[in-house]
């Protein structure tokens, strides 16, 4: 480890700090009241969430299940294409000890995978393979998650299916399956929501860019950081921000000043209040703002790295493993 810190590095960090400060000082200068006023005028409306009493909660859910859906990727050390990834998706029900597991192993070395990658590339040599590969992986995982959710929907007829992440991901990654799924749940009156932990949209700056050009490029999470009180939400007007058949809202569900996002189907948005209050109720006050059920599903679907290594050691021939999946840096002595 280098103990002498390069002077150049220090000065570069100083510069970065200055740049960031300049970029965000304009937003910071935006008075909270004023900002909220414009937001309310231009893009949506603020509202308050309510914690449900045990009784209301019970009545609302009516004994039906709530399904949490999440996925995980574990991969061996090594870089593309010399690695192996285990993709898992879990849909877990709050009642009846019910869960659906979907698993896939992703091996970029296999011929089929290479062909699929080339198909995606469509002759464009500028796109890096590693980028395409991560896309393939994510598509596969999205498919697994949706399949798990679909099976759970059919078998449990739940009250609500909660996805960890935006719904748009399924819409873009696996559009056909998504359409089938949406048709089914609308018919069966099953609510669907995507709980977005890391909001990656810039709807506000986009909508306000004419009045506030200096906000351009700022993400919603940056603009809304600390702007909502605990238990407050911002509903985005569907007229002003078009998002296909989805609608998004921003919520502050805990004492953490960072907001979370909520994706719902337009056709089910009339139930927004019930769903958002339910999520608020299931979120620990002092937590990071994610409903506990998703945290639970998340912890269950993840396998540890040591478990993956163990599985690989057990089921793969040692020489294959050594030849294909053992990176040199594992053998570094320092």
């Amino acid at each position: 480890m280098s103990f002498i810190i390069n002077e150049d590095l220090k000065s570069q960090l100083r510069t970065v700090n200055l740049q960031l400060k300049r970029m965000y000082s304009s937003a910071a200068a935006l008075d909270k009241e004023k900002f909220r006023h414009f937001v309310a005028e231009e893009i949506g409306k603020f509202g308050r969430l309510e914690k449900m009493s045990s009784k209301t909660l019970k009545e609302l859910v009516g004994g039906k299940a709530i399904i949490g859906v999440d996925g995980s990727i574990n991969q061996t050390a090594g870089s593309y294409p010399h690695y192996l990834a285990v993709l898992q998706a879990l849909a877990k029900s709050t009642v009846g000890d019910y869960q659906v597991w979907k698993t896939a192993v992703h091996v970029p070395l296999l011929k089929a995978e290479r062909e699929r990658l080339e198909g995606l590339r469509a002759g464009n040599k500028d796109i890096a393979s590693i980028f395409l590969d991560s896309k393939v992986k994510d598509t596969k995982l999205a498919a697994l998650e949706l399949a798990a959710a679909f099976q759970a929907a059919r078998e449990m007829k739940p009250f609500l299916i909660m996805f960890d992440g935006p719904l748009r991901r399924y819409q873009t990654r696996v559009p056909e399956e998504w359409t089938d799924f949406v048709q089914y749940i609308l018919r069966e009156n099953i609510l669907v929501v995507g709980v977005i932990e890391e909001v990656g949209t810039y709807l506000i700056s986009g909508a306000l860019k004419e009045s506030y050009p200096y906000l351009e490029g700022q993400y919603d999470r940056e603009l809304l950081f600390g702007q909502l009180d605990p238990g407050e939400y911002l509903e985005i007007d569907e007229e002003k921000v078009q998002r296909g058949d989805l609608r998004i809202c921003f919520l502050r569900t805990s004492s953490d000043p960072q907001i979370i996002g909520l994706d719902m189907l337009k056709g089910q948005f009339s139930c927004f209040e019930a769903v958002s209050n339910l999520i608020y109720t299931l979120t620990p006050q002092d937590g990071r703002g994610i409903p506990i059920w998703l945290d639970l599903v998340d912890s269950e679907v993840r396998i540890t790295q040591s478990m993956l290594d163990l599985l690989v050691d057990t089921y793969l021939d040692p020489e294959l493993k050594r030849k294909l999946f053992a990176p040199k840096r594992e053998e570094r002595i320092y």
């Binding site: 909660l57 709530i66 009846g96 299931l282 506990i292």
Partner: protein, 614 residues
């Protein structure tokens, strides 16, 4: 349930999702190669991966858990119970990890828990903790014999009864009962004594607290559990029903008695008693001699001689003086103050009634197989114990020795000696009258069939020779560090167990016994009888005060309304009416009236002539 983690030959960890494991529970580890060894749970833990102990990270609050429960999921169902299990006998090689573990049936562990072949001849003292799961497989004769008390309510027996066979004392004699106040030690002693009476064992109990009366049934006791002990015990108070016969006292016993009555004897006092006391002295003869010596020494030899020579005396007086002269010659070296001190101590003993009675009732009680309870203040009890123990132990020894020599002798039964506050009878570090006889019984009593049951809250203060001879020890809650250290030293309690000592529930005890070969955790059964003074003295105070106030109110009721100016007059009336209140002044009377005003029984109004009480 299965064995998890790294195992060794002594200990394994057991994990279970369904069954909650209890400390002291016995489990069977199904390792065929090792013949399914048995182990005891020594430490328990529970873990829920969804409710981590995290500092700085999110925390799952109660309302969220409750909400989850409402939508059908109980987080607590993901709990994993862990237990450290110590094998009862060391295995030849480590236990196989992953092998399953199960709760045994009673039959499979009976040999570990029950050591007395015949239930009718054994003491049923409580329930072995950690055996609750064996209740269903318990043989009928072991069921329903030891109900427990839970917050003052009787609850039925759950678990294997703790049964103590007094016959085992032949090999492993003497019992110690240790525990601080409120630990259930006295309660345990009571249960012990009830069982002694049930078996009809002759026993001698020294009761400095006046609490070992077995006439009153325990409040709320179920009818079928009730037992009448009234013909099984006899209570005697030292000086009232029992005492010592002065004529039979040896000089050693007498000095002990005198020492106990007044904070020890000085060297010169001991010397004086030894010189003055004669064999077969009665109290009166000894007392008169001492009195005479004092008179003589006070007068002085020369004065006595002068009076004898010069004054005309009647014959009686002359004889008296002659006697004095003799005393002067014989005891001239004794200081007057020493003789005075002895007289003072002797009178104190006499006033207690000690010399007016004998120990025949005690002997008779033991002969007829009763529990003899001897009560008295602790200073007197110590000396009386010395006397009576020496006496009955000698009687028993003479019988046994005569038997050995094949001679005829009067039968005297084997007996138990029970005492609370035993550290007063056989203290460590200094001498006390009863110490040598208790030591003697501790060391060779089993040869003659005399056994000790010693209870104390300060095991550290108990004579070590005696402590070392206690083969079975009941250890109740103990808080004092030095006592815990003593207990650790004197028992086979493991570190985990001694750590639990300060937190034991009242009535729970560890039994460390050579008979069982390991420490058992026991809950003492519900007593069938109750101590005569369980009333809280402060409740008593309150009710007495209330009574007096009511009385006072009745007396003044007719005199209402009372004007302040009338107070003196009323006071006089009250004093003649024989009211017990000490009302000496007008102020006190007014205070009493104000008290009634505060209670709302009277109303106080102000008028031009001072206050008026209505």
């Amino acid at each position: 349930m299965q064995v998890v983690g790294i195992t060794d030959q002594q200990e394994v960890w057991v994990a279970s999702k369904e069954v909650k494991l209890q400390i002291n529970q016995i489990l069977i580890i199904e390792d065929e190669d090792l013949d399914n060894p048995r182990g005891e749970v020594v430490c328990t833990q529970s873990y829920n991966r969804y409710i981590p102990l995290s500092i700085g990270q999110s925390f799952v609050d109660q309302t969220v858990l409750e909400s989850l429960r409402q939508i059908g999921y109980n987080l607590e169902q993901d709990e994993i119970n862990l237990a450290k299990v110590r094998l009862l006998t060391e295995a030849t090689y480590p236990i196989k990890p992953g092998c399953s573990v199960r709760i045994p049936t009673f039959e499979e562990v009976k040999d570990l828990l029950i050591k007395s072949p015949n239930l009718d001849e054994a003491m049923v003292l409580g329930v072995i903790r950690g055996t609750e799961d064996l209740t269903s497989s318990l043989e009928p004769e072991y069921q329903g014999i030891a109900p427990l008390l839970n917050n003052g309510e009787f609850v039925s027996q759950k678990g294997v009864p703790f049964v103590f066979d007094p016959r085992a004392m032949q090999q492993y004699p003497h019992i110690g009962i240790f525990g601080g106040s409120g630990s259930g030690k006295s309660f345990g002693l009571r249960v012990f004594l009830e069982e002694i009476m049930k078996l009809g064992l002759p026993a001698l109990m020294f009761d400095p607290h006046f609490e070992m009366d077995f006439s009153d049934p325990f409040p709320g006791i179920p009818e079928d559990y009730r037992k009448d002990f009234r013909d099984r015990f006899a209570i005697f108070q030292v000086g009232q029903e029992v005492g010592v016969q002065f004529e039979k006292l040896g000089v050693k016993e007498l000095t002990d008695l005198l020492a106990a009555s007044g904070g020890g004897l000085s060297e010169s006092m001991v010397n004086a008693v030894e010189t003055v006391h004669e064999r077969r002295d009665s109290f009166l003869s000894f007392r008169n001699r001492l009195e005479g010596i004092r008179e003589a020494l006070q007068m002085g030899k020369s004065k006595i001689e002068r009076v004898l020579k010069e004054e005309a005396l009647n014959r009686q007086k002359e004889e008296e003086l002659q006697q004095y002269l003799e005393y002067c010659n014989k005891y001239g070296s004794l200081p007057v103050s020493t003789v005075g001190g002895i007289i003072w101590r002797l009178d104190r003993l006499n006033r207690s009634g000690l010399f007016n009675r004998n120990i025949d009732p005690v002997i008779n009680g033991l002969q007829s197989g009763k529990l003899v309870v001897i009560q008295g203040p602790i200073w007197l009890l110590g000396v009386f114990a010395t006397y009576v123990l020496g006496h009955v132990y000698r009687k028993r020894r003479e019988y046994r020795d005569a038997q050995l020599r094949r001679e005829a002798a009067e039968y005297f039964p084997p007996f138990l000696i029970v005492t609370d506050e035993a550290h007063n009878f056989a203290p460590k570090g200094y001498d006390s009258p009863a110490k040598s006889i208790i030591r003697e019984i501790a060391q060779e009593g089993r040869k003659y069939g005399a056994f000790l049951i010693l209870a104390t809250q300060r095991p550290t203060l108990l004579d070590e020779t005696v402590t070392a001879q206690l083969n079975t020890k009941f250890v109740f809650r103990t808080v004092r560090g030095t006592d815990i250290a003593t207990i650790k030293e004197e028992t086979d309690l493991r570190p985990e167990e001694s750590r639990r000592l300060p937190y034991l529930r009242s009535g729970d005890a560890f039994v460390s016994s050579a008979i069982f070969g390991r420490t058992l955790s026991v809950r003492i059964r519900a007593a069938k009888t109750t101590s005569p003074h369980t009333d809280n003295p402060f409740d008593e105070l309150k009710s007495k005060r209330r009574q007096k106030e009511d009385e006072f109110f009745e007396l003044i009721k007719d005199k209402l309304p009372i004007m302040e100016a009338q107070a003196l007059e009323i006071l006089k009336d009250l004093q003649t009416s024989g009211f017990e209140f000490s009302l000496d002044s007008v102020e006190q009377l007014l205070e009493q009236l104000n008290q009634l005003v505060r209670q709302g029984k009277l109303v106080k109004e102000n008028s031009p002539f001072g206050a008026v009480y209505r």
